[in-house]
Structure formats: structure tokens, C-alpha cells
């Protein structure tokens, strides 16, 4: 067709953008709200809950959570350990660079700051964190740590000091389900954050507005239509925050009253014209608390955080219906509980809205969800943790995979975190493009077929062990159904199951080709012929599933 004809044809069909923009179309918004869900508690619902709160779901997790009630399942996920994990260790010595301050295998967090080993140590934080995600307990903790890292985004490359990068992560763990107001205070004077947004350079003679701005724009108030703080509020906030410094020996923040601006700070009508009286001496530090109290009096704070939690756990599109039915009541719960996070998560994850079929399978896995989830759901074996060198190398490999797929944990793109959680209209779709999708598909295939080999240890999917945990694995039809249910969050095209079955049956038509081979393998796992047959056919079938577009959903 000629271009001209093409245009003419268009002109008669009114080729125009959808009036709803990129978000949900008509009839696509769940109208459900925060009433507790009382419907069916089947595999679909259990898997939905676990997929959104864990990285990947193991068969054993499906079994154990299904045995609980919905409410108990959510409570169990929210019951996180208060104990902090053992810190990162020196797994980075190599032939030419030996850290003189830290014995191999020992933690460096008590050693002095080391400009020479800063890079290696920061990389060890990333590996350590990846290991914690891979080895997560069946709780929401690690998804919340990543949520807060995305919310209070800091870049290790900018923080530079390895201890502060580590402490910042520990702070996110400590407050993962804690009190958000206290969390903001702690984060405001966190050495990593003070370095990242130049708070430690913010003085009365030269106020640096970086943190004062992001505190409001990104951390508490957001840029929603009811957030109306002004440029002058940014400047006033910066002045309130003057004087915070970092003691690099004690590795702690401190307040230097000599650097503090003691003038009065006038805020705008959005903050009810609050005047924070300038204070001298150590009392100057109290101005920070006064300002946070002022900020947290605004209802917009709770709404902003609830919107971010919604985008993290449910879906990105918040239209007027969702705002009214979910965000606003959730924000009331948040405020009524003095900004405790846990009651908010409980209400959301137990809600009719969360289990609404329209809320399901509409997440696109983030790179970390993809990589870590992959390892967890296939229960990929890792080196023993006592083999710290191999452990950190393999965790580091996973971390680097996340990075090339655009999610470099510890070094997000900027202070706003990853665009997938704020950039309209694409949101999660940003994760998927012609560069990253082939990398995801390629990884899945590699992990099924050849594996990643380093230091004599290979990360690879053990398809036999995985399949042995699937119920009714000897029946090819049930195996396919159960495997798809565990791995893929929605129904697949009708063409998919025959292809998978042909893979298991090696293009034969009778079910017993698979059943006999599988049973023979189970009866004698030294039987090379049947073992090889099952391995090869399972690799075909599983890698096909991993290459489905549906596998990218969550």
C-alpha cells in the first residue's frame, strides 16, 4: 500500500490514542477495596500472595502456606526476624590485592575505612545482599528491603564509603516493617544518605538543597496533585538541616552547631505557615525533628507511601477508583497506626482488592525478581556459605545479571530509584525492551542447559530434583498443569500444552512414554538411560516455559 493510501485509510478510522492513556481500559479496574478477602483460598490465591511477597515460590512454600488460612498466611509473611544477619566478609582478596586490615573470610565492617579496598568491599555488600535474597526465609522482609532501597535510593558509587553503604542497607532491614516516621528521621542522618545527597556539606554559609528537596519530593510528600510545598520550602528545609556532619572515625553522624543556620525558618501556607525558630548549640538538631513533625502532619505523606506500596505489591495504575477504594483508606490506617508499616501491609495483602482477579499476573518481574526468583523457584544449589569465596562469586554473578538487565542493587540509577516504579505511562514495562528481554530469555536457557561455572562450582537447574517435588509428576498432563501453575501466573495459550507434552513424550503420542521413563528413573536413579531421557525431555519442556512471555509476569 502507498503511504498516501495508508493515511487516507487511517483518516476514515480515526486512529487516535485511547482516551485513558496507557493505563487500564474501561472495565479493567478492580472496584474492590480493603474489605478482608473471604473467597476461595486455592493455589491461585496462595501463589499470587507468595509471588508478590517473596522472590519466586518453591513448591514447598506453596504447600505450607496453603495449609494456613489466608489471614494466617499473611501474618506469617509479615512476621520477620528482628535479628540482623551476619555482616559481609572479605571474600575479595586475590593474588595481587590482599586487604591488610581484614583476614580473609572475616568481616571488614569493624575495620577502618579503606580507600584502597572500598570498591571490593562495596561489591561485597552487593554480593552479601544478593545472598540474603537467595537464602530468604519465607517472609516479606527481602522484598521490603528492596522496596526501601528503591524508596530511599542511594548509590554506593556515590556514597563511596563502604561502611556507610552497608549501614544504609542495615537501616532498611531494621525498619523494613517498622515505624516510617522514625525511619525517615534515622535516614535523614544516615551517613550514607548524608553523603549521597550532600547533607554533610550543608552549612549555614552555603546551604546545599539536595536532601531538603528530595526529603519532600521523593521520600515523604511526593509530587501528587495535593503536594504543594514550594521552592522556598525546599530552601527552608535545607537550612533546618544545616550542621549534620559525619565522624569518619566513629562512623556516625553528629551535629555541628557551628555549621547550623540559627535564623528562623519560615515554611509556606502548605505547611500552615509553620515557623521553625532557629536554635543555637545542640538544640539546633531538634529543628530536624520539628520539621519532620510538620511534614508528617500532612495527610499527603501517608497517601504517597501507600501509592508506592500499591505500585510495589499490586499494580502501577492508580486511577480514581483505586485512589478512593484502596489508597485513601490505606492511608487512614497508616496514620491511625502512627505510621507503622506492618498494619498497612496486612490490610493490603488481606484485602479483596489484592485477591481480585484483575490484580493478578499484571506485574512484570523486575530483574531481581527474575534472577533471584528463578534461583529460588528452581531451588538452584549454591556453594556452602563456609566456602565464602565461591559463595560471594556466585552471588556476585547473580547481582551482575540484575545489573545488566537494568537493576543494579546498591547502585540504582538515581535518587528516585528505578523508573519502573514511577515513570508514567510505562512503569514496569520499562524493564522489558529489546535489550533486556533477550538477556532474560538467554539466562533462563543457560541455567537449564549449561549452567554458570566458576571456581569448580556450577549454578544450574536440576530439572530432575525440581520435577520430583511437583505433585503427580508421573502423569505428563498433570505434570504440565502443575509445573505451569507453579511457574507461570496465568493461563497460557492453548497451543502451549501440546508443545510441552510433545517435549515430554519426545513426539510420541502415548502418555506412558513419559510415565514409564519417570517411574523407572524414580525406582532406580542410577538407570542412565531413563535418567538421561527424563533430563533431556524436561530440559526441553522447562526451557520452553521459561521462554514464554507469560514467564515474565508475576
Amino acid at each position: 500500500m502507498e503511504r498516501r493510501d495508508f493515511f487516507k485509510q487511517l483518516s476514515s478510522t480515526a486512529l487516535a490514542p485511547s482516551p485513558t492513556g496507557k493505563g487500564r481500559g474501561q472495565g479493567e479496574t478492580p472496584t474492590t477495596g480493603l474489605n478482608q478477602y473471604i473467597g476461595t483460598w486455592g493455589n491461585v490465591q496462595v501463589l499470587h500472595l507468595l509471588r508478590r511477597t517473596l522472590f519466586g515460590v518453591k513448591q514447598s512454600e506453596l504447600n505450607s502456606f496453603k495449609a494456613m488460612s489466608m489471614s494466617n498466611a499473611v501474618d506469617a509473611l509479615l512476621n520477620v526476624s528482628a535479628t540482623q544477619p551476619p555482616p559481609p566478609v572479605n571474600a575479595y582478596n586475590n593474588g595481587t590485592a590482599i586487604d591488610p586490615d581484614v583476614p580473609a573470610g572475616q568481616t571488614w565492617i569493624n575495620a577502618t575505612i579503606s580507600p584502597n579496598f572500598s570498591f571490593q568491599r562495596r561489591r561485597s555488600v552487593k554480593g552479601w545482599w544478593t545472598g540474603l535474597m537467595v537464602n530468604q526465609e519465607s517472609t516479606i522482609l527481602e522484598k521490603m528491603v528492596l522496596f526501601w532501597h528503591n524508596h530511599f535510593a542511594t548509590e554506593g558509587d556515590t556514597i563511596q564509603v563502604e561502611h556507610y553503604m552497608y549501614k544504609n542497607n542495615v537501616l532498611c532491614r531494621q525498619y523494613a516493617l517498622g515505624n516510617f516516621k522514625t525511619f525517615v528521621k534515622e535516614m535523614t542522618v544516615d551517613p550514607g544518605m548524608l553523603r549521597y545527597l550532600n547533607g554533610y556539606l550543608n552549612t549555614k554559609s552555603a546551604p546545599d538543597e539536595n536532601y531538603g528537596r528530595e526529603l519532600q519530593e521523593l521520600f515523604t510528600m511526593g509530587k501528587g496533585k495535593d503536594s504543594k510545598y514550594t521552592e522556598d520550602d525546599v530552601k527552608a528545609a535545607a537550612k533546618v538541616l544545616t550542621g549534620w556532619r559525619i565522624d569518619n572515625t566513629k562512623l556516625q553522624p553528629y551535629f555541628d552547631s557551628n555549621k547550623h543556620d540559627t535564623a528562623n525558618k519560615q515554611f509556606s501556607s502548605f505547611y500552615n505557615n509553620t515557623l521553625i525558630t532557629g536554635k543555637t548549640g545542640t538544640a539546633g538538631a531538634n529543628e530536624t525533628d520539628e520539621m519532620l513533625t510538620m511534614i508528617f502532619q500532612q495527610n499527603e505523606v501517608a497517601k504517597y507511601i501507600c501509592r508506592k506500596l500499591y505500585r510495589w505489591f499490586v499494580y502501577y495504575d492508580i486511577d480514581a477508583t483505586v485512589e478512593t477504594n484502596v489508597i485513601e483508606p490505606l492511608a487512614v490506617i497508616f496514620r491511625n497506626n502512627n505510621y507503622e508499616i506492618k498494619p498497612v501491609l496486612a490490610a493490603l495483602l488481606k484485602s479483596e482488592h489484592f485477591y481480585d482477579s484483575l490484580s493478578m499476573a499484571c506485574h512484570i518481574k523486575s530483574p531481581i525478581d527474575f534472577v533471584i526468583g528463578f534461583c529460588r523457584q528452581f531451588e538452584v544449589a549454591f556453594p556452602l556459605q563456609t566456602d565464602y569465596i565461591n559463595s560471594y562469586n556466585h552471588w556476585g554473578y547473580l547481582q551482575s545479571l540484575g545489573a545488566v538487565m537494568q537493576q543494579d542493587t546498591g547502585d540504582p540509577p538515581n535518587v528516585a530509584g528505578w523508573p519502573a516504579y514511577y515513570q508514567a505511562p510505562q512503569y514496569y514495562e520499562i524493564w522489558i525492551n529489546s535489550d533486556t528481554l533477550p538477556k532474560r530469555m538467554g539466562l533462563a536457557t543457560v541455567m537449564v542447559y549449561s549452567g554458570y561455572n566458576r571456581g569448580g562450582f556450577k549454578l544450574i537447574v536440576d530439572v530432575l530434583a525440581f520435577t520430583a517435588k511437583i505433585p503427580n509428576a508421573s502423569d505428563p498432563n498433570k505434570l504440565i498443569d502443575n509445573m505451569l501453575e507453579l511457574l507461570v501466573p496465568r493461563t497460557v495459550d492453548s497451543a502451549v500444552k501440546p508443545i510441552l507434552k510433545a517435549a515430554l513424550l519426545n513426539n510420541q503420542t502415548q502418555d506412558y512414554y513419559w510415565t514409564d521413563a519417570w517411574n523407572a528413573y524414580l525406582a532406580n536413579n542410577n538407570d542412565t538411560v531413563n535418567k538421561n531421557y527424563c533430563t533431556n525431555q524436561l530440559k526441553l519442556a522447562i526451557s520452553y516455559i521459561l521462554n514464554l512471555a507469560e514467564f515474565q509476569l508475576n
Partner: protein
């Protein structure tokens, strides 16, 4: 896709204007715009390379106003580059470039391949990285919220219906390519992102065939359709990208070597090969981060001409000059133009941590052998006492550059360009053999002054002009317009214009006299 489902729902005719986020969008149907597009013979073979400098570049240490040195040195002594070290632009001895920009200086002074626009911005500047970036990429007003990018809208007009029926014989290649792992928001069309991302042009993957659901009705189906579409596109374009990339070799030796970690140079090196390899792709997007120099933008020792900001501009300058050298040697230079932009400039006054906070306007560079090798605009005027919050006000709206590119480079008519930008705005003489539409009637401003200065409640601004359509605008320290004092054709002569400022806060006020593409600036202090 949603587009199709919309058509199904609204067929056969819908001529109502369409609104997105409350903003009136273009109506297709039988609009004049569509008829104009339909009448267009073909799309030309020009290519645009957009260079995004993330973080907000410090324009005053990039394009340096040498005639303001005394006052500027007072305002930013700790980061100011020694005057004798600043190389001057040929023919513009009051303006220099950062000494690290040797390659770009050469483009301007010797290669006739650089167009520089002073103080680019927009009314009511936004100081948030994220909002300001949205404004630049979407091409919106400061108070407007748009979900599509300006390039996305251009491509949607040029290649309607994408991705349905693409690739085809007219356009066998991707419409736009972002180098790196993300697709720029500038490429977001009204419905779908028009670009694809690549980091390694030789690495692709064969996907499982699957049908894209044309009519998704749930969020899950919508996201699934999106993923399948990307898989299909990646498959469709894999061969042409690989073939183009492998069909030519890099010819310039000026690119940074790998040890320099100049990612911009690496990205541009790929772009040159793809262009020379024959891709018909119209738009390439590359980027460099790190311009958010709140601290340590210069080194504490070794001279203020060294440090983070110098390193950044060295990378940009090496990358762009090598890229143009490569394009010349590969024989495609006449098809290639590029522009740099950053979401905002930085504050006039530096802070104590050898850095600068978020500011308003800053310079843009347009490069290529087809550009009008000149400096557009006047140096900003810096007062003797600068407030900590004072900004460089904008002289040119960033959409003037966009519309100039659309019209002078891509050959759109003024009306078509207005349809893309959703704004009718004047061009600038950015490309050769293009005349500034208003230039012929532009005034030459030969005197700018005001008295008294400082002033209490009012002051008189005096201008001498050769005559022509003239605007006189006054800006507050944040870069907001507070008054338009003149907006008419002035005959040749000297004029005195009263500026009443009873209701305004005390502080510096900046003013610009605007006529065609020429500018003159002044500053005054209200006590």
C-alpha cells in the same frame, strides 16, 4: 493493542478532540494535520542523535561569559576557571568554552560544525530532576503533564500505526534506537514506545512465536501483549541491526579508548556504525550521567579547570568530535545532526562544597556539518551581588530548538511541527541555509541599561534599537517571568520603558530584550 481496540470501539468515525490527562491532544480523523502528512512525498534521510546529559549541567562553567568575569568570580570564586585558561569562541571573543572541551572548540572554531544556543529553558522552571526531565522529554509546558515524548509524537506522525505492519519496505528498520539497556521516555508515543534499546548490536535471541492479543481486556493481558510485542520487534529487527553493524568498521581514531571509561564515546561509536551500515532509523538516543554536581565539581587541588565537571565535558567533547569525524570518514556526515540537553542548569552562586545547586536555564549544543556554525543568544548578565537563589533566566524556549530540528532538519512544515509539539513556536537559525523567520524583521539592540539601579519601587529600562518586533521580559531570581513590558514592533530609536515593581520582593531582577533570535540581557536590583 489498545489502539486497535479503541478503533474497534469507536469506528467508523470519531472527530472529537481527544484528551489525555486533561490536555487537548491532536485529533486525527480528517484534521488538516493528517492531510498535510498524507500529502508529504516522503520522509527524508536525515538522522538525529540526541545526547542527554543527566543531572543538570552547570552552564556557566560550560559556555563561559567572559565579559561577566568579575561578577561571576565573586559569585562562584571556588569553582571559577581562571580566565586566561578559557579558550574563546572564534568570532565571539566575549564567550568561551570549558578548557576540557577541546574537541567541541575545534568543531566551532575550525570545522564549522557546532551551533551553540545560550540559556535554553522555559517559563516557570522546575528544579526537580524528575519533573524537569519529564518536561524536556515530553516537550510540555512547566504546568502541563504529558505521557508521550516529543520524538515519540514525531515518529507517530511520520510512521502512523507503528508497530502494526512494521517493518515494511518503506521502513525496514527500527524507528528509533536507544543505546544502552533502557528506552528513552522521549520516544514514548501516544500509545506505544516507538524505540528499541540495544547495548550489543550483535547479540539477539530467537523468541518463541506467539500471537499478540489485539484486544487485551485485563491488566495481565495488557502486560502480556506488551512483552510479546517486544519479543516480536526484537526478532524482526535483529537481522537488520546485526547486518548494519557488521557491514562497516569504525574509521575514526578519535574515540576514547576503553580505559578512559567514556561510555558516551562508546555509545556514539555504535551509532556511527549503524548509520553508516545503512539503517534507516531516524533517531538515536545516547546519554551520560553525573552532571548533578552539588559537590566537588572541581578538584580542590590541581586547578578549577580539573575535576568532575571537566571530566564530564571532556567525555562529551571527545565523544561528539570523534563521532562527527567518524561520520565524515564513513561518508554519512551530511545526514547526521545531534543535540545535547540537560534537564536544567545550575545556580549562579556556588556552594561551599565546590559544587552548585539546581538551577534554571543552560546552553545546548547542536552538532553536525549542516549546522549554522554560530552562537545564538547573548551572555547572561551577572549582577555584582548575586543572591544564593539567583538563576540564569531562559533566553530561548527548548521547544524552539525542537521545532527548528523538526522543520529545518526533518523538513516538517511549521504547522506539522506545531502538531508534534502541541505548540506553535518560532524557530531559531540552527541549520545552514535556513533563515530565521523573524530575523529579517529582527531589531538590533545596541544599548541596554536601566536607571536608577538599585531602585526602590520603579526603574526605567533604556534600549536603543534598529527597529523591529521586540519583547522586553523581566524575570525574578528563580527564572520566573514576572512581566512583559514590551511586545510590539518598535521603530528605530531609543526607548525608555518604566518597570513598576511595587509589589515585588526585593532582590535581583533579570531582563531580556527579545527580537527574532537575537537577545540582549540586563540585571537590576530592587532594594
Amino acid at each position: 493493542m489498545k489502539r486497535r481496540s479503541f478503533i474497534k470501539r469507536t469506528a467508523p468515525v470519531a472527530l472529537l478532540p481527544v484528551f489525555i490527562n486533561g490536555l487537548s491532544f491532536r485529533s486525527y480523523g480528517n484534521s488538516p494535520l493528517l492531510q498535510l502528512l498524507a500529502a508529504k512525498a516522503s520522509i527524508n534521510n536525515k538522522v538525529l542523535v540526541l545526547v542527554q546529559l543527566n543531572g543538570g549541567n552547570d552552564g556557566l562553567n560550560t559556555l563561559i561569559p567572559l565579559d561577566q568575569y568579575t561578577n561571576l568570580s565573586n559569585a562562584r570564586a571556588n569553582i571559577m576557571i581562571t580566565e586566561s585558561k578559557v579558550p574563546k569562541l572564534k568570532g565571539f571573543d566575549k564567550t568561551g568554552l570549558h578548557p576540557a572541551m577541546t574537541g567541541m572548540l575545534n568543531l566551532f572554531n575550525n570545522e564549522s560544525s557546532l551551533n551553540i544556543i545560550q540559556a535554553v529553558g522555559y517559563p516557570s522552571p522546575n528544579f526537580s530532576h524528575f519533573r524537569a526531565t519529564d518536561i524536556w522529554l515530553s516537550g510540555s509546558d512547566s504546568s502541563q503533564y504529558m505521557n508521550s515524548g516529543w520524538i515519540g509524537r514525531y515518529l507517530e506522525d511520520a510512521y502512523p500505526g507503528f508497530p502494526t505492519n512494521y517493518p515494511n519496505t518503506d521502513m525496514p528498520d527500527p524507528l528509533a534506537i536507544s543505546i544502552g539497556g533502557v528506552v528513552s521516555q522521549a520516544l514514548q508515543g501516544p500509545e506505544i514506545n516507538m524505540g528499541m534499546a540495544i547495548s550489543d548490536p550483535t547479540a539477539f535471541y530467537n523468541f518463541v512465536d506467539s500471537v499478540v492479543n489485539p484486544n487485551p481486556t485485563t491488566p495481565s493481558e495488557k502486560e502480556l501483549a506488551y512483552i510479546r510485542l517486544i519479543a516480536q520487534q526484537s526478532d524482526k529487527y535483529a537481522d537488520s541491526i546485526k547486518a548494519a553493524y557488521n557491514s562497516v568498521a569504525t574509521k575514526s581514531t578519535m574515540y576514547a579508548d576503553t580505559t578512559a571509561k567514556n561510555s558516551l564515546s562508546d555509545q556514539l561509536k555504535i551509532v556511527a556504525r549503524l548509520i553508516a551500515g545503512g539503517l534507516k532509523t531516524k533517531i538515536y538516543m545516547v546519554s551520560l550521567g553525573g552532571f548533578d554536581t552539588h559537590s566537588n565539581q572541581v578538584n580542590t587541588t590541581g586547578g578549577t579547570e580539573t575535576g568532575a565537571h571537566a571530566d564530564l565535558w571532556s567525555k562529551v567533547s571527545v565523544g561528539i568530535s570523534a563521532f562527527l569525524d567518524d561520520c565524515k570518514k564513513l561518508g554519512v556526515a551530511d545526514r547526521v545532526a545531534g543535540m545535547t540537553y540537560s534537564e536544567f542548569g545550575r545556580r549562579i552562586v556556588s556552594n561551599a562544597s565546590l559544587g552548585t545547586d539546581h538551577g534554571a536555564a543552560g546552553p545546548s549544543f547542536v552538532f553536525g556539518t549542516s549546522v549554522n556554525n554560530t552562537l545564538i543568544g547573548a551572555n547572561p548578565t551577572i549582577p555584582s551581588t548575586v543572591g544564593a537563589a539567583d538563576n540564569v533566566n531562559y533566553q530561548y524556549d527548548f521547544r524552539q530548538i525542537y521545532t527548528s530540528i523538526l522543520q529545518q532538519w526533518f523538513g516538517l512544515t511549521k504547522i506539522e511541527a506545531a502538531g508534534v509539539l502541541l505548540k506553535d513556536i518560532d524557530t531559531l537559525p540552527i541549520f545552514k541555509s535556513t533563515t530565521d523567520i523573524k530575523n529579517s524583521e529582527a531589531a538590533i539592540i545596541s544599548l541596554v541599561d536601566n536607571y536608577p539601579n538599585p531602585f526602590e519601587n520603579s526603574t526605567t529600562i533604556k534600549i536603543q534599537t534598529s527597529g523591529g518586533l521586540t519583547q522586553l521580559k523581566v524575570f525574578d531570581a528563580l527564572g520566573n517571568e514576572v512581566a512583559t513590558l514590551v511586545n510590539k514592533v518598535l521603530p528605530s530609536g531609543t526607548y525608555e520603558i518604566l518597570f513598576e515593581a511595587h509589589n515585588l520582593a526585593s532582590g535581583n531582577y533579570y531582563y531580556s530584550i527579545i527580537s527574532g533570535s537575537s537577545r540582549a540581557n540586563g540585571v537590576m536590583l530592587k532594594k
